[in-house]
């Protein structure tokens, strides 16, 4: 079996990396803006980011000259799936309500 270079345990054992995950849970950030929250050198920030990436906690996307870090939802109960599900759920329910109300007022006439 191939061992990943950094497992989840190692990735979250470090308080800075846990803080990074918490920051990224609010919004995706570039490595630079992520680094602003820490009193450490840019290479040190990059190293932490690499470890989080290797452990599957985040994805990194290059946009222009910036590297954007985003939490990977896979490990985190699929937040976006919940939102997407209930978003569609409400639209379909509200359409049903619309039909009901329209039918009701038509019957009255």
């Amino acid at each position: 079996m191939v061992q990943p270079s950094f497992d989840a345990f190692q990735a979250i054992a470090d308080p800075s990396r846990r803080k990074m995950l918490r920051l990224l849970s609010k919004d995706s950030l570039t490595i630079n803006s992520l680094g602003e929250h820490f009193d450490m050198s840019r290479p040190a920030v990059s190293k932490h980011v690499k470890i989080l990436h290797a452990a599957g906690f985040i994805s990194i996307q290059d946009i222009g000259r910036e590297r954007h870090c985003t939490l990977k939802q896979d490990g985190f109960h699929h937040l976006q799936e919940w939102i997407d599900y209930f978003d569609k759920f409400w639209v379909s329910k509200l359409k049903k309500l619309e039909t009901l109300l329209n039918n009701k007022s038509q019957n009255k006439k």
Partner: protein, 149 residues
């Protein structure tokens, strides 16, 4: 990233009529889900639907009425989980009705998804810790034998 759901619907009907469909259990069942809602603040009720395997929830929404301003505003908590009393979704639904010249604007906000994300983050970490502590214990055992513990 979206953390809450917003919808606005216009109905060419008076707020009183729309309100009925938001607060009368029988009428609610016609478009939303079966429920035992009562328009009383603090009332605990449930919506029941089929299980939703993709979200790992058993189809029961556990709700508590949080606020009622007749014909204007209604809110309830909206919780769900895989069953056995475990809650993985802890959110709030707010309905607002605005009287318009020719009908009613109905505003829906379904929020609180961020907290769940944090909770899941925490849960994921806790599970991760446990799994990995076990893994380390195994490695130690393999190396030094099981006599340490």
């Amino acid at each position: 990233m979206t953390k809450s759901i917003h919808h606005q619907f216009f109905f060419p009907h008076p707020p009183e009529m729309v309100w009925e469909y938001l607060t009368n259990a029988e009428l609610m069942a016609q478009w939303l889900m079966k429920n035992d809602f009562q328009p009383i603040v603090g009332h605990e009720f449930q919506f029941r639907t089929n299980p939703i395997p993709s979200l790992d929830i058993d189809g029961i929404m556990y709700c508590t009425v949080l606020e009622i301003i007749p014909f204007k505003k209604l809110s309830y908590s909206w919780k769900a989980g895989p069953g056995g009393g475990k809650i993985t979704l802890d959110t709030v639904v707010v309905w607002e009705l605005q009287s318009k010249e020719k009908g009613t604007d109905l505003l829906l906000e379904h929020s609180g998804f961020l907290e769940i994300e944090n909770l899941s983050l925490y849960n994921g970490m806790t599970d991760g810790w446990l799994k990995n502590v076990n893994k380390i214990a195994e490695r130690l055992n393999a190396k030094y034998g099981t006599t340490i513990i």
